[in-house]
Symmetry: C2
Subunit: 143 residues, 2 copies
DNA sequence: CGTCCAGTTGACGTGAACGTCAACTTTTCG
DNA sequence: CGAAAAGTTGACGTTCACGTCAACTGGACG
């Protein structure tokens, strides 16, 4: 099992990031590659974490937020109080993500609707603004 | 229907953003409030757009990407070629968002699993690292 | 041996997305 | 009427997430 280590170059190729990015993530304590002399060697754990980092970014999380999420995956070796704290952060994050899922579905519906509209435009039949109206619904009535 | 206009202050209260942010979005042509003298007045349309802007941000889209998406909602008054271009961008965006939905579900599963693990830790029964293993799955086997 | 090549550490630069502050002009209200 | 509140336009500052460049080091190879 000695050979599940990756050089920085291999990492960059595999994940489509630059060396700078990986070093940056290490500086921010998102990754913790081991060293062979001065060379970084990325473990299986680093790879799993990088995957989560990139995923988190796609959802608009900041690196700091992602770092806190990653802590969760290292929850094994923590004190009870810190563990409790981490747990609460995770609960909150889950709530956010579930809300986000709802929104994503909404956004996709909107987009579908607009696509249909634009398709109708492109196919000649110029329907004036029916889908438009749907996109501009009354939101909240303003207290 | 003269009174479905909002001042910048009302907008800030309703959407929890700062004036600076709204002016910034206007400068970037994401919003186009009308003017009463020098005062901005935000229309129903602006409100709908702002809602989409904030939503987009939560999914990690840049303001520029969001601007392109908003164009879709104004697709009525475009030239055929530009309309085609807009349409393709939208198709691509839809694909991205669907992929994102998949990932979000994956991420939520991971998180659920970790939550269960941390709960087991907190409730005393210290299971060593079973869920951990799940988080560190072999990803891609490295070409 | 020299010379690539991949890697390293600073250090400074950059674009995005605002924050902050100054200076000024209305609006509103007791 | 006059102060406070709300708005305006610059203009500069800041934070995040890296990009870029210089200068250096340690192996690999003909």
């Amino acid at each position: 099992m000695a050979e599940d280590l990756r050089t920085i170059g291999e990492m960059c190729a595999d994940f489509d990031v630059t060396p700078r990015t990986l070093r940056f993530y290490e500086a921010k304590e998102l990754l913790a590659p081991i060293r062979d002399g001065s060379k970084r060697l990325f473990t299986r754990r680093d790879r799993a974490r990088l995957k989560l980092i990139l995923r988190g970014k796609r959802f608009g999380f900041s690196l700091e937020e992602i770092r806190q999420l990653l802590e969760l995956y290292d929850a094994g070796d923590q004190q009870q109080t810190q563990l409790q704290r981490t747990y609460e952060i995770a609960l909150q994050r889950r709530a956010e993500m579930e809300a986000q899922r709802e929104e994503l579905n909404l956004a996709l519906s909107d987009l579908e609707e607009q696509l249909a509209y634009v398709e109708s435009l492109l196919s000649g039949k110029g329907i004036p603004l029916p889908a438009h109206a749907a996109a501009y619904q009354p939101d909240r009535p303003h207290a």
